[in-house]
Symmetry: C2
Subunit: 223 residues, 2 copies
């Protein structure tokens, strides 16, 4: 297809497509004359991936470039390729204070990773530090967290990922599509879960604190 | 205690305390002379609450004022008071498109709320729209979500809230402390869960995609 059709099918304006071509994010089309190039489904898939990285992942172009390099380099295996996107989507790691509270928190995290049999998580994964930092903040605010406090949350995360998240990433198709699915799943299912948790909190808070004997909606029909 | 001691115990600088007093976020102390006022534990608790709302909730002063009005108004029951903080911490609702996709998504959400027996969630709760909006985005990106897709996530949220989150909010103590605990729990346990989910994803992705026969860490000891 010509660039005009690529634009129509993808919904991406032609000047934006030309920008992606110049930046090397989108591979050049097959040149059919001095002024014409042909594009195909692989370009459409790439545009979908770029859109997911930009609009869902809200990543800067520099991060997108790194991810696309991993997608294009067939030497990079699928796990490493997905890992590049996975880390790019995580919050930037904060500097680690390395005091006693922090070491204790980091120890809880490392034990938890072992308890959950997550032994494939890299020892230097920034997510370990990120979680430890949240535990330190909770401690400083007077709500210290033990390994036992964290376990049910970790188990729930483990089950959701193993039984549901991971199946949403197609591994047999094109590499662009796998990364696109990872981005969408990681960000939007994360958002959905957060909203679900707040719905559950609203409901449970009403049940727990709000319903006085005069309110009859507990005893009443579920309607 | 005097304002200098209140500052020392809370870690909040005196000019900031004076700002909160002027803004009405912190109640005036008991005047003991023309230039002196006495503060007590209730002021310390209020400063802790303000800090949680500012630093953990990242709320603007206008939202903090509303929450504190609910805390101070003893006519506001504890559920409504917590609800004020709960909604303030949620993302600002986006305008609702009200097209067919949106109505279908909103129907999934409403059915889910019934399935989960969350009948205390207000019919006009902005969280319903927020979740519906995420479902619309997923559909537009080519990953449509059914009620069945969402159910395990909703069940996990339900269990975590009922068995763990809700117990973290002390109801018999001062009202400031209950709201402070809600803010900390909602925001920081949300952050912790997000990190746990990404740890599980990293581990499961390695197990699923990355481990080639040459890597022996699957067969190796759990160490």
């Amino acid at each position: 297809m010509r660039i005009s059709q690529l634009s129509a099918e993808s919904g991406v304006p032609i000047p934006t497509i030309k920008f992606y071509l110049r930046e090397g994010l989108l591979p050049q089309g097959r040149q059919t004359s001095a002024t014409r190039a042909e594009y195909d489904q692989s370009h459409l898939r790439r545009l979908r991936l770029i859109r997911a990285l930009l609009e869902v992942g809200r990543l800067p172009v520099s991060s997108i470039r790194k991810i696309i390099e991993a997608v294009e380099d067939e030497e990079t295996d699928i796990h490493e390729m997905l890992g590049t996107a996975h880390y790019a989507l995580s919050p930037a790691p904060e500097p680690v204070p390395d005091d006693e509270d922090w070491r204790a928190a980091r120890e809880i995290v490392d034990h938890l990773v072992t308890d959950l049999d997550w032994q494939h998580v890299r020892p230097d994964a920034p997510t370990r530090d990120e979680l430890a930092q949240t535990l330190v903040t909770l401690k400083h605010l007077g709500m210290p967290v033990t390994r036992d406090d964290l376990l049910p949350y970790a188990r729930a995360a483990d089950t959701l990922v193993k039984e549901h998240d991971i199946g949403k990433i197609p591994i047999d198709g094109p590499r662009d599509t796998a990364v696109e699915a990872l981005v969408i799943c990681q960000v939007l299912y994360g958002k959905a879960f957060d909203a679900l948790r707040r719905l559950a909190q609203e409901s449970e808070s009403a049940r727990h604190f709000g319903i006085r004997p005069s309110d009859d909606c507990v005893a009443g029909p579920p309607e």
